[in-house]
């Protein structure tokens, strides 16, 4: 039997399995973001937008679109990737993964790849839903896709780490609920941080989510709260941090192997 250098059949099997799980619940997977986005537009777009017509020269309804997409990408990426690896741990089917000839890189590639595919798909659905409510013009489409994919991969890696770290379903919810949601709402998803008093603006700059949303908003409108290079740099730093943590998990077998 010939030894394999890259287990492409293994990666494809996991990737397809994860996507099949998503497709089994396609209706709620698609309906949920569509309904949520529509509600955000009703509340923020119609109610607040009626009083705040423009931010940085952009109509308020359009201004919140990148933030809305990022909010969903953060939450969906963490949720999909953490569930994907936590579920086999919970049911015991992880034994098959650990006993298979797949490397740590291949496992991460398959799980994170599948979760990121779902997140990017959902982001595009939200974008399509938003375009029903407000006219959307994307100034830098290449960078939009780049930011979207990088952010999806980064947060999927983050979710993968949470899925391995979590000992139960409650712990799985802690990080998204207590950290990511507040940071996103305070990260300029629905406002420009320039609108904050100077002291709070300085505090906000310690929130990593600010850089992700700002960079993504730049790809739409060409204007941003912080320099786009800094945003890209921060996204990459977060990505590399998550990669290093995943590498450490597999090297030590942390909460995967006894």
């Amino acid at each position: 039997m010939r030894a394999i250098a890259f287990n492409r059949h293994g990666v494809w099997a996991i990737y397809r399995f994860e996507l099949a799980r998503f497709l089994r619940t396609l209706l709620q997977s698609v309906l949920t973001p569509v309904i949520t986005t529509s509600l955000y537009f009703v509340v923020f777009g119609a109610a607040i937008g009626a009083r705040m017509t423009e931010v940085d020269g952009v109509p308020y309804g359009a201004f919140i679109v990148p933030g809305l997409i990022m909010l969903s990408v953060f939450m969906e990426s963490i949720s999909n990737a953490s569930f994907g690896i936590h579920f086999p741990k919970f049911t015991g089917t992880i034994f098959e993964l650990l006993s298979a000839p797949v490397s740590a890189f291949e496992i991460v590639l398959a799980y994170v790849g599948a979760a990121a595919t779902k997140s990017v798909g959902l982001a595009l659905i939200i974008l399509a839903t938003a375009s029903v409510f407000v006219p959307i013009h994307i100034l830098h489409p290449f960078w939009m896709v780049a930011f979207l994919v990088l952010t999806a991969i980064t947060f999927c890696l983050f979710g993968f780490i949470i899925g391995i770290w979590a000992r139960n379903w409650e712990q799985m919810q802690i990080v998204p609920m207590l950290i990511v949601t507040p940071l996103t709402f305070l990260g300029g998803a629905f406002y420009s941080i320039d609108m904050l008093p100077p002291a709070w603006r300085t505090v906000t700059l310690f929130n990593p989510v600010v850089y992700l949303i700002s960079g993504f908003r730049w790809t739409f409108f060409g204007s941003a709260d912080v320099d786009v290079g800094t945003s890209l740099g921060m996204t990459l730093v977060f990505l590399l941090t998550c990669l290093a943590l995943v590498a450490m998990i597999f090297r030590t077998g942390y909460r995967l192997k006894n």
């Binding site: 287990n7 059949h9 099997a13 015991g92 034994f95 006993s99």
Partner: protein, 312 residues
Amino acid sequence: MRAIISISGLTKTYASGQHALKNVNLEIREGEIFALLGPNGAGKTTLISIICGIVTASSGTVLVDGHDIVTDYRAARSRIGLVPQELVADAFETVRATAGFSRGLFGRAPNPGYVESVLRDLSLWDRRNDIIMTLSGGMKRRVMIAKALSHEPRILFLDEPTAGVDVELRRDMWALVRRLRDSGVTIILTTHYIDEAEEMADRIGVISQGELIVVEDKIRLMRKLGKKQLTLHLQDPMASIPAGLEAWKLALNAGGSELEYTFDTNEEQTGIPALLRRLSELGVAFKDLHTRQSSLEEIFVNLVSERKGFRQ
């Protein structure tokens, strides 16, 4: 016969401090059925889990078909199929999909024909489109075996394969294991059912408290450690064994109505003719007699309890 698995100096100490394996050395021969016996917590599952890559050894080496399980894990693991003790399959998947998934996971290109033959062999073909959670426990056990066989392994680990299955399925499994062995697959099974090992295994290993205490050909083990007993049903019950029978290892049972003589099967002379002559001389009459050989279960219990006694 060459060794397909070579284990040397294998130890495992869990973070809790529990010494699950202590310097285990073992060679599994290609094409044999090897039964690993031991009481609960003896280290059987830990040993299997290390070989399959699920648990990390504290020290020692394991070679699978000449490939180190750590440095050359891809080659080692692709040769192994594992059927774990628990029925853990993806509840929402179909039977055919989960077998195809396992094949891909182990690096094999899709082969619907092969997967079909495995499912047919396990009487699962008619249930191929059923969701796993709708299957009975016995069918789920078959699915676990189908998953383990889907990538055409050369070595199959069966961890308590017939735990909780009915007699018919148990017989089916035994037949399947023999067919697999005949096709060249090496089988390593752990079991609590000693009769299963007695029925199927070529060689037997007994593990107790993390140590491999015996590895022996089954027939030789039973001959070496097995005892035979001759029971004489006496015409008239006796209060004690009469004088003049000290040369034989006798016991009086059943309220003095049975005289039991235990002898070693390895000895050239069983001593039975001489004993019968002596009894006749002493006027001890018996109405019936029978002999029995100790089962593997008795040998196993003796081995493990001796070990425990030795430890205490």
